[in-house]
């Protein structure tokens, strides 16, 4: 898994490439938490999943954990470029109760 973090105003966008599972979710958690810890001005989190080819319940748990961090700042969690098979997984898991799916990064960035 490879992560690319970009800050734009109060929005942190994380591009996730590869697989988000038991092996990689600790890195996903620590990289984002480190960024949030270093910058209290960040309010919203956008996950760009265009290059994400696998997520299981360990990955979903890691995403839910980041929602909890962002919710403490009254921010929003958004996912963009979500592949079809991941949309189904998000629906089944109930994650869509707390995470919005946007069709484009531009749309997601206009949430603030």
């Amino acid at each position: 898994m490879n992560l690319e973090l970009k800050r734009n105003g109060r929005v942190l966008t994380v591009q996730v490439s590869g697989e988000l599972d038991l092996s990689t979710s600790p890195t996903f958690r620590s990289r984002i938490e480190e960024e949030l810890g270093n910058d209290q001005e960040i309010k919203h989190l956008i996950l760009d999943l265009k290059e994400t080819n696998f997520v299981d319940s360990s990955g979903l748990g890691a995403i839910l954990g980041r929602y909890k961090s962002i919710a403490q700042r009254n921010g929003r969690l958004t996912a963009v470029n979500v592949p079809l098979h991941l949309q189904r997984l998000f629906e089944l898991s109930g994650l869509l109760k707390v995470m919005t799916i946007c069709s484009s990064l531009e749309e997601a960035q206009n949430i603030d």
Partner: protein
């Protein structure tokens, strides 16, 4: 009619979860599964093997046995460990049951949802045996056509 099998063992290391997914998906691809069905098999395998890493051997890695079989156009996946076992299977199957805030407790739910059959045999301190079975939808439809 295809008949095949593959048995492998590996230590319950997080890195071996993705390896097990690749092996099972490659083996399953011998049958007429759609890409969507193969994705479901990958998720179910990932959940079963992750459970061995997290729950069966929480303190140190132990052996995970993966037994794959194709028989009568049907894929059978057995994931076997000799770890600490499950004390209360009904509780473990409860959606969102997890003691860890970073986990959603959906592993068994996904395994049941994505496979045609899923059974678990487990006793405390005597390990766990998970059997998952799936047949390609296209094969099911073909067999209906023949009747």
């Amino acid at each position: 009619m295809k008949e095949n099998y593959l048995n492998i063992s590996f230590p319950s290391l997080p890195d071996n979860v993705s390896l097990s997914r690749v092996i099972v998906a490659s083996f399953a691809a011998q049958l007429d599964f759609t890409l969507n069905e193969l994705e479901e098999i990958r998720v179910a395998t990932s959940e079963a093997v992750s459970n061995c890493v997290i729950h069966a051997y929480p303190d140190h890695p132990g052996e995970v046995r993966l037994e794959l079989k194709i028989s009568d156009d049907t894929l059978m996946i057995k994931v076997i460990d000799e770890g600490c076992g499950i004390a209360d299977l009904d509780l473990a199957k409860t959606p969102a049951y997890s003691s860890d805030p970073e986990r959603m407790g959906l592993g068994l739910v996904f395994m049941e949802s994505f496979m045609d059959e899923m059974t678990i045999e487990s006793q405390p301190n005597q390990g766990t045996k998970v059997l998952m079975v799936k047949k390609p939808e296209r094969s099911k439809n073909n067999s209906h056509d023949c009747q």
